[in-house]
Chain length 312, copies 3
């Protein structure tokens, strides 16, 4: 594994999950591994869980961390080749990536989808450019189209709470006032494909995810039907993919309630809007796994960093 | 002591002060205590002294520190229960607090008064909510109604410079162009109540502090009379409490001068506006203790963190 | 050396350069030197290279680092003495500098030129005030009129790549859409004066640098003539000094191209605007030293911090 850009890096999910579960038992066991190694975290967007959990993971591994809010602290980056840079952008990513790589050993990058143009978002220009030019391992801290550290944390959480041989897992769209990226949903779907589970996606018409990503997965537009007998219900809003980046529907009937949930466990990547995406009762109940998911962000990051450190 | 939210945590001030003075002599003596422990500092408002001194204290104790400017780096928080979160706030403090608590061992929080509504400020929603939900020790880095780490640093400073058995200490209001919170003044008053001193508050009519806090304390509206024979003059602006959060008077005659000060020591929590709150000559004279106070911020924070670490 | 404010601190450039080259071979050799020492980095302006390379240097030396974006995280500073501070500025630099000095052992400061008033910029108020009041070593991380850590990194880079006894080095102005400070150019000129090189400055009429700084140096207004037979071409935009801070000319003919460069090495401090300051082909060619320069920022900072630590 040269970088951790997407879930394609995970060959055997069960072995990754069991290794993460082992890490949790003794988080400082690899403290010597990161000694003298520097992790640089570049945030092009806001962050709470990713910011803190990735730092925590690095501390467990004995690494030093340098955090940079790129937007407010650095220079606006140009990504296109051959441009005449006489407008607002002061530095080309070619220089920025190569320079930063000289100051650290691994670089983590968060750069959300702009949701204005699908092609632009799918090009994942920030992540791709750093991976191309940096020459050091790059970790995806949520890009335009994927959030693999979240999906890995989710897989660990499911493994820790699953009691059935082949659980039924439902990914349900939920209403939200603002247009949100597809990254979390995409990565969750890709993660489900790596496991022997019964997996269904449910969303209103017009909200079907990227066909390439949901290929082979049942999409059910009747939420109640989809949730029947579910063991885990993962809820997340995303904007339309067809009508790219638009909020075409805020149907409140899609909010997850205790009644809909039944005996299933509730999952969400956070932050979550209470009583819009999911009712209070669900989050306050022991069926909610959202805190366990957030806690596992530390260990999914730690596992990825550990594997990258081992190959330095 | 579960948290350090207010001065109520201090049972015996003399023993706290003497312990802090001891710490100063050998700041690294408890360096092993914080090993593998993480302090998270959340700033909802600007900070210089608190930001740096608390980090320094943590370094002395061997802790790791993660600093987060919550406003610009994280998500806008909802504090009310039962709200339908379809407006600007993306995350509920219930989730934020519980999540952050999983990434660290102690959390420090700065959240100033909004000065718009007294009830809201007195509810101290940020501090209270974190203390309620985080499940780990919470340290007040200045809240709506109190700044106990400052008051503790002030007590240490007075102890180091006092030469009399029962010194006379005056808290004097001073003019300021903008409305300021009551937190520093409140905590200083509460700290004075814990000591055997002659304590007087002086301020113009209309600027009397919260009656509950100044209960039992002499309030003198004649500044000259109040300052007579003072050993320490603590100066601070605060907005009106009655006419909540308003600047009802900027009377320049209340500025502290060398003439008024006499032989007393001058104290202020900083930042201070020169020639508005206090004249240059005072700050430039050896009678000023403002730098000693700022320095003691490191040791007041260190003492609090040490006590919390010992109970983890 | 009490502070590192300018290149005047460097008595013997060759010995500094060879010491830096030695440091690069074993960056952690002085790791014990910084133990228990704290470096505080105060940014009044944006930064990428300086921010990360100086942190990296401190890590090599075993120091702890506290980074503060002064503008957004602290209080607006007053620099004038005797002012009545009843406007926007909340704290005087006298207090800020003395307070910060109590929390750290060395302080680094970045404060760019405002380019509005020459006298103001030449006064270097931020750097000068901290050096005057802090009482601890102050390091210039780029001030109004100089960027000595960059110039030192440049000198190291030239030493590493020079093959001639007395190389010809050209500092060439280049076009840029926005008015830029003179700091980098000034320090490069001053650094050249410390070496036995053939040095020429070339810029359009109206862009001659400060006469005091370029005293004794040939200024050639014909770029082609200046670059003839050059071994190193250092390119940088700066605004007019005579018509202070103005962009009086954006002549595209001054952009550096492969054709102009010939066999010379290309240097720039970064960030650089591609196809405005220099064409893509130059930056993408092996003749470009910009990454080597950026990498040497770590070692120029490390050398300066090491020398300051040795004198604490």
């Amino acid at each position: 594994m040269k970088h951790f850009l997407s879930l394609q890096e995970i060959q055997s999910l069960p072995s990754w999950v069991s290794e993460a579960v082992e890490l949790k038992k003794d988080p400082y066991r690899d403290h010597a591994l990161g000694r003298g190694k520097v992790l640089c975290l570049l945030f092009f967007n806001n962050s709470l869980r990713t910011r803190l959990s990735t730092q925590k993971a690095a501390l467990h591994l004995g690494m030093e961390v340098m955090v940079m809010n790129f937007g407010s602290e650095g220079w606006l980056l140009e990504y296109e080749d051959g441009t005449i840079m006489d407008q607002g952008k002061a530095e080309h990513v070619r220089e920025a990536a190569q320079v930063i790589a000289q100051y650290c050993d691994i670089v983590g990058i968060r750069a959300f989808a702009g949701l204005k143009d699908r092609k632009t978002d799918e090009a994942e220009q920030t992540l791709t450019a750093f991976a191309r030019y940096a020459g050091i391992p790059v970790v995806n801290l949520e890009s335009s189209v994927g959030h693999p550290l979240q999906a890995l944390a989710d897989a660990i959480t499911i493994a820790e709470h699953n009691t059935r041989k082949r659980p039924k897992i439902v990914l349900s769209w939920a209403p939200h006032p603002r247009p949100l990226p597809h990254a979390v949903a995409n990565s969750f779907v890709e993660m489900m494909k790596k496991q022997d589970v019964e997996f269904v996606i449910t969303n209103p018409e017009g909200y079907d995810l990227n066909p390439e990503i949901r290929q082979g997965i049942t999409v059910e537009h009747d939420q109640a039907k989809a949730m029947e007998g579910a063991d885990f219900v993962y809820t997340k809003n995303w904007s339309s993919f067809t009508d790219y980046g638009q909020v075409i529907n805020q149907d409140k009937n899609w909010m997850v309630t205790m009644e809909k949930l039944g005996k299933a466990r509730f999952m969400h990547c956070l932050p979550v809007r209470r009583n819009v995406v999911v009712e209070d009762a669900v989050l306050n109940s022991p069926q909610s796994l959202v805190l366990a998911q957030a806690n596992n962000r530390t260990y999914s990051a730690q596992l990825v960093l550990k594997k990258l450190l081992q190959q330095l």
